[in-house]
């Protein structure tokens, strides 16, 4: 899928909320954070929410950067690389106490697994149920 701005934002929200949400539901009890389950869920879902909300802002930047590309495309690889800047920003927020209180190991495990899973879905299986999606720059509605 080669995104448009609108498509990026829609895909980000839908994939993280649905795929990321289901995954978070499954993986949270397995995270080594030593906290009670309800606290763990609160933390992981807050992280997910941050990835979505800050992500919409990041998408604006990515869209701007995309304008420098002749093809107006967004290589698959960039979809993985951007985990670094986005992950770092959230980690900084956690470290300065703005974000939820999660230990580093659990955060990394949760964040990276959500990222890779949604990236994989976006790069293939998503096209199966949503056959118009890839031709509309990632728009779902």
């Amino acid at each position: 899928m080669v995104p448009t701005l609108n498509g990026r934002i829609q895909t980000r929200i839908a994939l993280l909320a649905v795929v990321g949400g289901l995954w978070t539901l499954l993986i949270t009890p397995l995270l080594p954070d030593g906290a009670p389950l309800s606290a763990s869920y609160r933390a992981t879902f807050l992280v997910l929410l941050l990835v979505i909300v800050l992500g919409v802002l990041w998408e604006l930047l990515y869209h701007f950067l995309q304008q420098f590309r002749w093809e107006k495309d967004w290589p698959t690889f960039f979809g993985l690389l951007t985990a670094i800047n986005e992950g770092l920003l959230i980690w900084i927020l956690i470290a300065v106490g703005v974000g939820p209180d999660v230990p580093g190991g659990s955060f990394l495990l949760h964040f990276i697994s959500v990222w890779i899973l949604t990236w994989l879905v976006a790069n293939g299986p998503m096209r199966v149920p949503f056959i118009h999606w890839r031709f509309q720059g990632g728009r779902l509605i």
Binding site: V2, W70, L80, V128, P129
Partner: protein, 529 residues
């Protein structure tokens, strides 16, 4: 002198007479030819038998194939779809053109991993399938690494031609395509009084009792590929004046004799053009040079020599160098679904034509192996470039050809044993008889780029015959709201638009989440539909 078209499989016989001096049964009549809209009665009077079918697709190439595939997946039975074609299989014409222009089955095409004409979802893509059919660990990781890192660390992944043909063949059997095919040449499509269309087929001689057959249908789709590929005037002048068809060839003509002679004695080849075909031909010449230890020399004539990145602003700059403009595919990647697709969909008239010009121009992909070959050629002196336009070709001493090249500093003469023209000059749509007939009799018009004017749904504007619809896709419709039409993925996008329009009319099911997923599952298990 009339310009000549390069023969292609299934191309029309331009000399074919509309009616024979002595009448034959079931032929066209002057009355039919001159009347825009036909009644059933007119065909009865001419003795042309009428067959009913809901949907006709004309051409039977890849455009027809992906459209039939889509409609089959949307629940239309094979018995409701009729393909009128001269081809044995949908990829015949395409395979011919790729083979002569030096893409045999083992070589790689120029479209991406998710451009899969055998699979409307593009999943699993060719790269993933190539990985899972690999016989070694390296062959497993290599295509995956390639798609993962393209086009940043690696060149774009592209599938092998053979992979595309074999997978299309599987889908061809799965959807029962052969059942839909009726062989012959389509002469015209006319609107029918009372709705729908008549498509007139000329079956092969002796295959039917009448010279023509009419298909009466509510829907027609026209996908006839290239209206014609032309020889450049200087090439044709040379051939006609000097009665020598062998030394000066177009890359879309069979020209193995060039490579064969070069393998027997050293020679110089003049290449003209800066597109992918030139890249292919160069690859073949240099591969042969390396493999057989030949002394082939290459003189490459560029009309426009690109020295580096070029374009009107930092937001619109295409890479280039050493003469070439570089681009992965024939259009920037986002025309098949991203920003440029969304943008052009909104543009009209001159603005749209202008956008096409900005994105267009001859270009070729950057491939590491090609870069290496040419770099070596330049360093060792056997690959040289010349900037200018070939004005005239004349015979030279010792069986050679001399080109008079109009360059910036005046005329230059260059000598070679062979000239391979790698420019693809497409004929005007009017040169295709069926398309000319649509313009003259069925209300079709031209878009800002001079080709057939289609709506966003690919309905041919001006040809409606309620409740029927006439659609067109492929090269004949280039210049419309969607630039990528003449590619695998573009033909599939057109098929999707057509299927959506037909679903709105109640002809087929809409491909929503449930149906799409279920149909994909059938595809994945290779279950016939």
């Amino acid at each position: 002198m009339t310009t000549q078209n390069i023969p292609m499989p299934g191309s029309m016989d331009p000399m074919e007479q509309d009616f024979r001096p002595t009448p034959v049964p079931g032929d066209l009549t002057p009355y039919l030819i001159d009347t825009h809209i036909w009644t059933d009665e007119m065909l009865h009077q001419a003795g042309i038998p009428i067959y009913d079918t809901p949907f006709v697709t004309v051409g039977g190439g890849i455009g027809s194939f992906v459209t039939v595939d889509y409609l089959r997946i949307c629940g239309v039975p094979a018995s409701s779809l009729t393909v009128l074609t001269n081809l044995d299989v949908p990829w015949s014409s395409y395979e011919y053109l790729t083979r002569v222009s030096q893409i045999p089955r083992r070589e790689r095409l120029r479209s991406d991993s998710a451009s899969t004409p055998d699979n409307i979802w593009g999943f699993p893509s060719y790269a993933v399938r190539e990985a899972f059919s690999a016989k070694s660990v390296k062959d497993f990781f290599s295509p995956l690494w390639n798609v993962l890192t393209e086009p940043i660390l690696a060149d774009y992944y592209t599938p092998k031609a053979g992979h595309a043909f074999e997978s299309m063949e599987r889908e061809y059997h799965r959807i029962g395509y052969a059942q839909c095919v009726r062989k012959g040449q389509v002469r015209m499509v006319r609107r029918r009084y009372g709705g729908g269309y008549f498509t007139i087929l000329t079956p092969p001689a002796g295959a039917a009792p009448t010279r023509r057959i009419a298909y009466r249908s509510q829907f027609v789709h026209v996908a006839v590929g290239y209206p014609g590929l032309k020889l450049l005037p200087d090439l044709q002048r040379y051939r006609e004046t000097h009665r020598d068809p062998s030394k000066v060839v177009n890359a879309y003509e069979p020209h193995e004799h060039v490579y064969e002679q070069l393998s027997r004695r050293p020679g110089t080849v003049m290449i003209r053009g800066g597109g992918i075909v030139a890249s292919r031909v160069l690859q073949r010449l240099i591969d042969d040079r390396d493999r057989l230890g030949l002394q082939t020399r290459v003189l490459h004539v560029f009309r426009t020599y690109v020295t580096g990145s070029h374009g009107p602003s930092i937001f619109m700059r295409r890479k280039g160098g050493d003469g070439w403009a570089y681009q992965g595919f024939n259009y920037p990647k986002s025309v098949w679904g991203g920003q440029l697709k969304a943008k052009v969909r909104k543009l009209e008239g001159a603005e749209r034509a202008e956008e096409y010009k900005l994105m267009g121009g001859t270009n070729t992909p950057v491939r590491k192996s090609w870069q290496e070959q040419l770099k070596r050629g330049r360093a060792q002196g056997w690959y040289q470039t010349l900037i200018g336009e070939i004005a005239e070709l004349v015979p030279g001493p010792a069986q050679t050809v001399v080109a008079h090249v109009k360059a910036a500093q005046g005329y230059i003469q260059a000598q070679a044993d062979f000239v391979i023209d790698c420019t693809g000059l497409e004929a005007d749509i009017r040169e295709h008889r069926l398309l000319a007939d649509l313009l003259d009799h069925s209300g079709a018009g031209r878009n800002p780029s001079g080709r057939l004017d289609v709506e966003r749904t690919f309905e041919l504007r001006g040809t409606r015959s309620e409740p029927g619809r006439l659609y067109a896709s492929g090269s004949a419709t280039l210049g419309g709201y969607f630039p990528g039409v003449d590619t695998f993925l573009g033909l599939q996008i057109a098929a999707q638009e057509i299927a959506d329009d037909l679903a709105a009319l109640g002809f087929c099911a809409r491909l929503g989440v449930g149906r799409s997923t279920k149909q994909w599952w059938l595809w994945a298990r290779h279950r016939p539909i």
